[in-house]
Amino acid sequence: MIFPTLEFALFFLVVLSTHWLLYRFSGIWKWFLLGASYFFYGYWDWRFLGLLASSSILNHACAKGMQHFTGARARKTFLVLAVIFNLGTIAFFKYYGFFIEQAYLLAFRFGIPCSLPLLDIILPVGISFFTFQALSYVIDVYRGAMQPTGRMLDFALYLSFFPQLVAGPIVRARDLAPQLAAFQPPPRIDLGRAAFLILGGLFKKTVIANYLAQTVVDPVFAYPDAYGAIDTLLAVYGYAVQIYCDFSAYSDMAIGFCLLLGIHIPINFDAPYSATSIQDFWRRWHISLSTFLRDYLYIPLGGSRQGVARGYRNLMVTFLLGGLWHGAAWTFIIWGALHGIYLCIERAIAGRPAKRAAAITGWRRFGRQCLVFNLVGLSWIFFRSQTFADAGRMLHSLSNWSSAPQLLSVTLLLAILAGLASQILDNRRQQRLWDAFNRLPAIAQAVLGALVLVAILAMGPRGVAPFIYFQF
């Protein structure tokens, strides 16, 4: 069940109305939301419901164990157990095939006979997201940053909460679990923000992302040799906009649906292509992942406090693993490595550029934004390509200036520009629109919302492609 479908619309309406009818009866309300979340997840493949349930049981048991046994050794044992379970699960489902393939290739190169079991493993949707949420919970409990949730039900509901279950944001337990454990309905519903997030997300996904994918990105990335530099450049820029519109659309809609349910989850994107440095970019792109990697990997490794060389090493390790988190392929690792290298160079040249970026204005600021966008665009080539050879062909096509453009059109340029223009209208500037919408009478809000919905559905192609981040 994906967001922009009739099935989800009906599902959400049932959940929304029942949620507001039941919220006073805490016990029934929690079981209802848990059941709805499991139904949402099981709609893809019911066989993985067991994985979600076992992850809830084991992680909560470990957190409770840490609370019960106060000795440092016992607490660490429970933490290690939970980390092994979570990383083991993700390693098996996501990376088993990749590592077996690499082992075969290595053994073949050195002439070693090798016979490892090849398994046809289906990747459970959203595994990377809910596994990281579970990790954040057990690590925070271990660090004393939060207490374990009172009941297993509270943790199970946090881990499976449907709006952000399959493609994020990766909401920390200490932010979401207390809201679900003791639901306090907000006195007012931010309908303006919810409507803009949901309808804006729908527009970004069904109109911009789908159009760019079909028109330029998929054809050029499939056969880069058939296109010249201008078409390839359009495909690279198109993909930069497509992945932003696709992924931020999911996050925006998830936040919007949560707002209607009276639950707050933090933003995941903050106009990333307006970044003036790569560090700034990572403060704006997939914020819940970048802060997760910062708090649970980069800082525990030592961050930048143990000398310059170790700081660079820690950055590279963090981004290589961040790349690998996205998928079991060398192209993702190269993508992560490129970002790690960018950050190392940036730090070597300018110290902490993000701190001074706010002081840069005018054309210098615009120049830096263009540079960052192009560097990020270059890394997207590896991210989008199926193989390393495909990425090489894309880079080669970028040097082919003799072929005339085949795909260049006004609509295509408008779609790319629309995606980039959304970076100017960041969250703070949109507030005026949300507040204006909130001031309208209910009938006007309904008519306006329905008209915008019809216009979006009429503009977009029939059928909706799955979100890119579902594969992670």
């Binding site: 519903i189 309908l191 923000r193 802060t291 969250n427 703070r428 909130n438 009938i443 919905l453 019809v454």
Partner: protein
């Protein structure tokens, strides 16, 4: 350290109690759903008709056909049809 940075606009707006009352929100959502269903009634029936044959399709059609019939009477689906022609032809 702030887990999500300092730009969490949602938290600021929640503290400022921005928005509408729950009753207002419920009314707006109910009206929106009715209007949206009527404006898209014919398109909903058409997309349901494309589902693979089976019990699920039959159930969907049982709901979609009366909706489309009512929608056609209101002439509200004409807006979407006009826009679709304008954008795609």
């Amino acid at each position: 350290m702030e887990p999500y940075g300092s730009n969490d606009i949602g938290r600021q707006r929640r503290h400022a109690e921005a928005g509408v009352s729950r009753r207002h929100a419920a009314l707006a959502i109910i009206l929106f759903c009715m209007l949206a269903a009527l404006m898209n009634g014919v398109a909903i029936r058409d997309s349901v008709a494309l589902k693979p044959y089976g019990p699920a399709r039959r159930v969907w059609m049982l709901a979609a056909e009366p909706l489309a019939a009512v929608a056609e009477r209101t002439r509200l689906p004409m807006l979407r049809e006009t826009l679709e022609k304008w954008f795609h032809d």
